[in-house]
């Protein structure tokens, strides 16, 4: 029988394979939050010790390396292949971060889409922090990283940020991007 949790006695052969699908989904969501926290705690620890310039430089360096890896493992695991915009969107829907965000996709055609991030816990944390770090992280780093993700699939994919923080107090959108390939 599948386990809904691990409140039972110690099982020397415990593995995730023994958990119900519902529990695995909870783990997927909590792991996405854990991933975000590992990255965030490192940023804050370095910022407190060495200042925001060093923390930002490390953050940029790390994610310039890891974005391709993120796309690679997602695509390999889920057999996502292609060089069009819709392929990138599929990888964005399924990658290890995706459970932390709420996204809305307007797919105009396979080579053209508008993607809106409706909820972003990182932006919420930056807004609460109040030191304006979203100007660097969202307006500089994320633009570069979205391009890296797009170019993993197709170096000719054009990424245009349509809306970036700071956002209006009543805005539901954290950021919005146009993704396009002209053939």
């Amino acid at each position: 029988m599948e386990l809904v949790d691990y409140s039972g006695t110690f099982d020397p052969d415990f593995s995730y394979e023994k958990l119900t699908k519902e529990t695995l989904l909870k783990l997927i969501r909590s792991d996405a939050e854990y991933v975000r926290r590992i990255d965030g705690q490192w940023y804050l620890a370095v910022m407190q010790k060495c200042g925001n310039d060093v923390a930002f430089a490390c953050d940029a360096e790390i994610w310039e390396k890891l974005e391709a890896y993120t796309m690679k493992i997602t695509c390999k695991l889920l057999n996502i292949h292609g060089n069009d915009v819709v392929t990138l969107i599929k990888a964005l829907q399924a990658n290890p971060w995706s459970s932390s965000y709420e996204i809305k996709v307007d797919l105009i055609n396979n080579d053209h889409a508008i993607i809106s991030f409706i909820n972003c816990p990182t932006l919420l944390a930056l807004e609460r922090d109040g030191s304006g770090r979203e100007m660097l992280i969202c307006n500089k780093l994320e633009v570069k990283l979205m391009e890296l993700k797009a170019h993993y699939f197709n170096p000719n994919m054009i990424v245009t940020p349509l809306k970036l923080p700071p956002r209006d107090p009543n805005s539901e959108i954290c950021c919005q991007w146009e993704l396009k390939v002209d053939r």
């Binding site: 110690f10 415990f14 394979e17 620890a45 370095v46 060093v54 490390c58 493992i73 996502i80």
Partner: protein, 185 residues
């Protein structure tokens, strides 16, 4: 009932969510995410080390993980309903930790209050050995005992954690590390 997806090679689904994936795909994703976490942590360490040196990197690493292991214990015990104040409770959480998916680990539970944990494979130690700078002297001998203590004390401050074997090890066939968890009542 709609068939579950073993992957996402099909056409774009505007309502895609992980709920549509098959159970075996979810476990594979969780394994890949565990390795992803290890890489994020490793890249941060290396980036700070290259810019500011190993002392600063280790100091940040300690600060980060002193906070995050508590978060992980809270998250796992709440999500998987693991509660108790004995050693076997700690063992259950160690088994369920996303990090354990990246290691080969044996747990020998001798009683509810005594267990031996043996890590037979550890990709972090392998990377440190390949690097050859001896950083395992700090990470495995200073940081890890501290973190194992925090994990155990989250459940019971009287659990004693004794490292029985720590790196450096005698060749690649040797175990990576071994720990005794004990609670005397």
């Amino acid at each position: 009932m709609k068939e579950l997806m073993v992957d996402y090679s099909s056409s774009f689904d505007p309502n895609f969510s992980h709920e549509k994936l098959a159970q075996q795909t979810l476990t594979r994703l969780l394994r890949a995410t565990a390795e992803y976490m290890r890489r994020i942590d490793g890249h941060w360490y290396l980036s700070v080390m290259e810019k500011w040196g190993n002392d600063e990197a280790l100091d940040c690493d300690i600060k980060v993980w002193e906070r995050l292991v508590i978060y992980e214990m809270k998250m796992l015990s709440s999500l998987l309903n693991i509660h108790g104040d004995d050693v076997v409770t700690v063992m259950k959480v160690l088994q369920a930790s996303p990090w354990t998916l990246t290691y080969a680990c044996d747990i020998d539970v001798r009683s509810n209050d005594c267990a031996i944990v043996t890590y037979r494979n550890c990709p972090t130690l392998l990377a440190l050995e390949n690097e050859g700078k001896g950083r395992e002297g700090l990470i495995c001998q200073e940081l890890e005992p501290k973190l194992m203590g925090i994990i155990a004390h989250y459940f019971n401050p009287n659990i004693r954690v004794t490292p029985l074997k720590l790196p450096p090890r005698d060749g690649s066939g040797d175990i990576c590390c071994q720990w005794e968890f004990m609670l005397e009542r």
